[in-house]
């Protein structure tokens, strides 16, 4: 009975919190975008536009729900549901607090003790691309189809570095259970955060995760300039909102994963350590974790306004020529260190060395490309 109450309460809390957070993430994103572009942003509904998500929600729900005549109706209707469902489902195994210290009525993870934690998340979130592909295909529109084709190629490519970069973390923790990985880092303290041993993997994971969630600079499936709206061109009203929601939930999931896998979860020196036993310590720990997640989300938004969108061949080149070899080499390094029982701190210089090597190879490749590039002949007399 207690189990059931815990599960239901947790699901309710997670569902409500995630949806609410997503609504306000849209507002935050609009505010950040506005500030970046020297605008004001939403400020009409409520003070500082704080009721804007509510107004948007009401608008989207009350909007007409047209189904174009030329679409495949079943797939057209299912696609946004898949998009939301899968991204929300992935949250089932993501711990959002100190799991062992929850109050009696809830847990800090919906499905505890799932030993395949990360694999489950990857399996489910990569299903989200079905929503994109089906939506684009069912729309029977060339722009949508192109968007979904791009999405399939992109997501499939970036799955590989995404999984490979986590392999190192999994090897270090000896587990792919997200609770275990978080607990080990949290109990070890600041210097046991995986970021110190796997900075390169963190970078690769973050980059691939951006691509997985179709965020700038990897939002080729929905780039407005080339594809009108990409896969959701034909969608409007609440169905479009579901796609949008799916994307934002994905961003939240990814941010949770980054902070759990690499930045120690709820651990923060002096404030939230395993020893901290003051009243409401679990609340502080949730706060720390959420603050980390929030920082990563804001960073993702900053990245959006910093890096322009990749060209598609550059996108594929980044995945296959840079990220996959890098993450492979990283896994090999981790395995070597573990096999020979060397000190884990060797992983930090090794990661940096790997990164520098990649930079050297990159500069050589680019210079070779510049040398081979056809150029206008320049008369000797034209030297100024």
């Amino acid at each position: 009975m207690n189990e059931l109450i815990q599960t239901l309460v947790t699901i309710g809390v997670v569902f409500g919190a995630v949806l609410g957070i997503c609504a306000y993430l849209v507002l935050l994103e609009r505010k950040v975008s506005a500030r970046m572009q020297d605008r004001v942003g939403p400020n009409r509904v409520g003070p500082w536009g704080l009721l804007q998500p509510l107004a948007d929600g009401i608008k989207l729900v009350l909007k007409e729900d047209p189904t174009p005549v030329h679409v495949d109706v079943l797939l057209y209707r299912i696609a946004p549901m898949i998009s939301v469902f899968t991204t929300l489902l992935a949250f089932a195994v993501v711990p959002f607090g100190p799991v062992g210290q929850a109050p009696w009525f809830m847990r800090f993870i919906i499905a505890p003790n799932i030993d395949i934690g990360i694999v489950f998340v990857f399996a489910i979130t990569s299903l989200a691309v079905y929503g994109v592909i089906l939506g684009g295909w069912a729309s029977n529109n060339k722009y949508s189809a192109l968007g979904s084709l791009r999405a399939s190629a992109q997501v499939v490519s970036y799955e590989i570095p995404l999984g490979m970069s986590v392999l190192g973390v999994a090897l270090l923790a000896g587990s792919i259970n997200l609770e275990q990985i978080m607990l080990q880092q949290a109990e070890g303290g600041f210097w046991k955060w995986n970021f110190w041993y796997q900075p390169l993997a963190c970078l690769v994971f973050f980059t691939s995760a951006l691509a997985e969630s179709n965020r700038m600079p990897f939002d080729l499936p929905e780039c407005e300039q080339e594809l009108v709206g990409g896969y959701h061109t034909e969608y409007g009203g609440f169905r479009f909102a579901m796609f949008f929601l799916g994307e934002y939930v994905h961003v939240v999931t990814v941010s949770f994963l980054v902070s759990i896998l690499f930045f120690g979860g709820w651990n923060l020196p002096w404030i939230a350590t395993p020893e901290s036993a003051y009243a409401g310590a679990w609340l502080a720990k949730i706060g720390v974790l959420l603050a980390k997640v929030g920082a990563i989300i804001v960073f993702i938004m900053l990245i959006r306004w910093t890096i322009p969108r990749f060209r598609f061949d550059q996108l594929m080149g980044l995945a296959w020529k840079v990220l996959i070899p890098l993450s492979l080499a990283n896994v090999v390094i981790v395995m070597t260190v573990l096999q020979f029982g060397w000190d884990r701190w060797w992983l930090l210089p090794a990661s940096i060395g790997l990164f520098l090597m990649a930079g050297l190879m990159g500069v050589n490749a680019k210079r070779a490309e510049i040398r081979r590039r056809p150029r206008a002949s320049r008369p000797a007399a034209w030297t100024t």
Binding site: R35, M36, V40, I307, G359
Partner: protein, 220 residues
């Protein structure tokens, strides 16, 4: 003519170095720009309905028909504005001026200006010899139908009443008197725009720039 070689500047692609290959310094510099914008927060937005825009003095908005100091419509129905109008949006019906108006022959019986058709070029204002039609600073013109946007004489005179005391919309000539353009005989002679040589016809006239002889009694 080909461009001289010394005028050609060859620009080399900047050297692609190690740090460029790693992308990180470029991303950091970009992030700095982003964060600068976000933290400094100097919006250029104008909160329109609360804050009205500061329009330039020469802004061209809705037209008005001026009145002279006796309250009569200044327009003399000369059709110059309708002729000058490139959008062909002015329709004037002239009628003989009443006998108690000795200073003019005609006045507009109807004066209809299609505000939707107008392109707000201001040529009517330039063409008007008596400064009767002027463009104001009113820009938020709305109506419920196209018909309402056909401004007749009374409506254009209402615009005048509405805007005559606005410092942005000065009645550009002395109120009530006909403008200098109407006093053709007293018009100061304008020098020719191009260089005049002594054999030119314009150089032989009494006042330079005026070809032919202005009949002195035309407007009297």
């Amino acid at each position: 003519m080909p461009i001289a070689h010394k005028d050609v500047t060859w620009i080399e692609e900047p050297e692609f170095g190690f740090w460029e290959a790693t992308f990180l310094p470029a991303i950091a510099a970009g992030l700095r720009t982003t964060i600068d914008h976000i933290t400094l927060n100097r919006p250029v937005t104008q909160q329109y309905p609360e804050v009205k825009p500061e329009l330039p003095q020469h802004y061209r908005g809705v037209h008005r028909l001026n009145r002279d100091e006796q309250g009569r419509v200044k327009c003399v129905a000369c059709m110059l504005c309708a002729t000058a109008c490139p959008a062909n949006c002015i329709a004037i019906e002239a009628a003989p001026a009443p006998p108690e108006w000795p200073d003019r022959d005609k006045f507009p019986a109807t004066f209809v200006l299609d505000e939707l058709r107008c392109i707000y070029c201001g040529m009517c204002e330039e063409a008007c010899p008596v400064d009767a039609i002027e463009l104001t600073h009113i820009y938020d013109l709305t109506a419920h139908s196209r018909k309402e946007m056909l401004f007749d004489r009374e409506k254009l005179l209402e615009v005048y009443e509405e805007t005559k005391n606005n410092p942005k919309d000065p009645v550009r000539t002395g109120r009530g008197t006909l403008g200098p353009a109407s006093e053709f005989g007293a018009l100061p002679a304008v020098g020719p725009a191009t260089a005049v040589e002594s054999k030119d016809r314009a150089a032989k006239t009494e006042s330079p720039g005026v070809i032919g002889k202005a009949p002195p009694d035309r407007y009297e």
